[in-house]
Symmetry: C2
Subunit: 246 residues, 2 copies
């Protein structure tokens, strides 16, 4: 089963487009923190997304396998928010390590240009690849929107190449404009999964995203769930809210 099929199966089984952003702010045993969140929220999520920058040099492959097996036992997809952005010969060992840690997919930053090559290599390792396309942080506007490739904003060329390269998904901030979401969807085609951070604390309008991006969607909520005193209750709230509008 390829990653998009895996995603569709899980979405159906869980009846959910909620992805939980695990950004463990704890230095001591971040995996325990993540396991605890998963235990409380697993009924409501299709995916979890763990950010590499929060576990840098503190978690090894053995612990990550333990975490990912637990995530898989709950029928959930595990995405590493790695923003891989090296040349191809250096991306390959990273992909092997991510596969060996038993993640299902990762995020990729296209600055080195090698979208097609990285999709191909990720798929060889049976990993899904999400291409950073249009981020929601305001500092990204000059490079992703105001910079142009043959008269078009850079993010649209990235989306086009992600679609052509059969990337499994694109990362598009939930806070961006509805016309931008529509533009990305038009060039990627319908099957590409939109992974949209920025819902919850960052204030992205998920209704707009659900209306515009189509069915293949993961809405990521991080801090609003993991920093809440009752993550399970909060995850259930987002799950209900998202399902009311899709």
């Amino acid at each position: 089963m390829n990653f998009i099929e895996k995603y569709k199966t899980v979405r159906k089984e869980k009846n959910s487009i909620l992805c939980i952003g695990l950004d463990p702010m704890v230095k001591e045993d971040p995996v325990e923190f993540c396991m605890d969140i998963i235990e409380q929220t697993s009924d409501y999520a299709s995916a979890v997304k763990t950010n590499s920058q929060f576990i840098l040099f503190s978690v090894d492959a053995r612990k990550l396998r333990k975490l990912n097996r637990r995530i898989h036992d709950e029928g959930i997809i595990s995405i590493l928010d790695h923003k891989l952005s090296d040349i191809t010969s250096s991306n390959i060992p990273a992909l092997h390590s991510i596969r060996d840690a038993e993640f299902d997919a990762l995020t990729f930053s296209p600055f080195a240009g090698n979208i097609r090559e990285t999709v191909e290599n990720a798929h060889k390792d049976n990993l899904g690849l999400f291409v950073l396309t249009l981020m929601s942080n305001p500092e990204a506007v000059w490079i992703q929107k105001e910079t142009r490739f043959r008269e078009k904003p850079l993010y649209l060329e990235i989306a086009r190449r992600a679609g052509l390269s059969r990337a499994d998904g694109v990362v598009v901030g939930a806070t961006v404009d509805v016309n931008e979401i529509r533009g990305v969807r038009e060039v990627t085609g319908d099957s590409t999964i939109f992974l949209c951070p920025g819902v919850g604390e960052q204030g992205g309008d998920f209704r707009k995203v659900i209306r515009t991006a189509g069915k293949n969607l993961l809405l990521n909520v991080g801090r609003a769930i993991i920093n809440h005193r009752n993550p399970g209750k909060k995850a259930e709230e987002f799950w209900r809210l998202f399902n009311r509008f899709r």
Copy 2:
């Protein structure tokens, strides 16, 4: 002492602009591999650059501190080739972890746009920051050179912002055109350190780089040294060669 001063001191003491690229292809104990290379080459290098993607999930902070203390004992600078590329709130914990592992500097990918913010945060952690500007892999041409910000190629706008933000360095492939190197140097100003991979196996012309980029320079050689049966002899060769032309 800030990073640029540290670099200048080491360059003078070692009489060297050689940086050794540590991309350990070994899964078992990559730190031991790196220590062995350092022991053999330390007389000839000003810096070593370790690539995060090669040590992913296999090396913890304790082992990296051991490695970095050894590197510092030899009077060498330690750069983490991390290509950090997240939003600022996620970059901050990564910077803390990189500082805690006792690196001197790191590389940064500007796709999220936050050059100024990341330089500021790196400096708070007493880390130097090298901004990826113009890479040497052919897949990067469409995004770094053919994409334009206000009529200029993207890499020149990145170089300009790196200079304005007081980034410690820029990463520019040794294989790029001499006019491109000159263009980057013109907008960064003279004090920015050029970190140039692509010498050795990748065939970059170091004479051209030395002639054009000025004094503040680190020429990175990876595989041609670390995969050689006698890394010390090979490092000495590059050291002599570089010093003959600078």
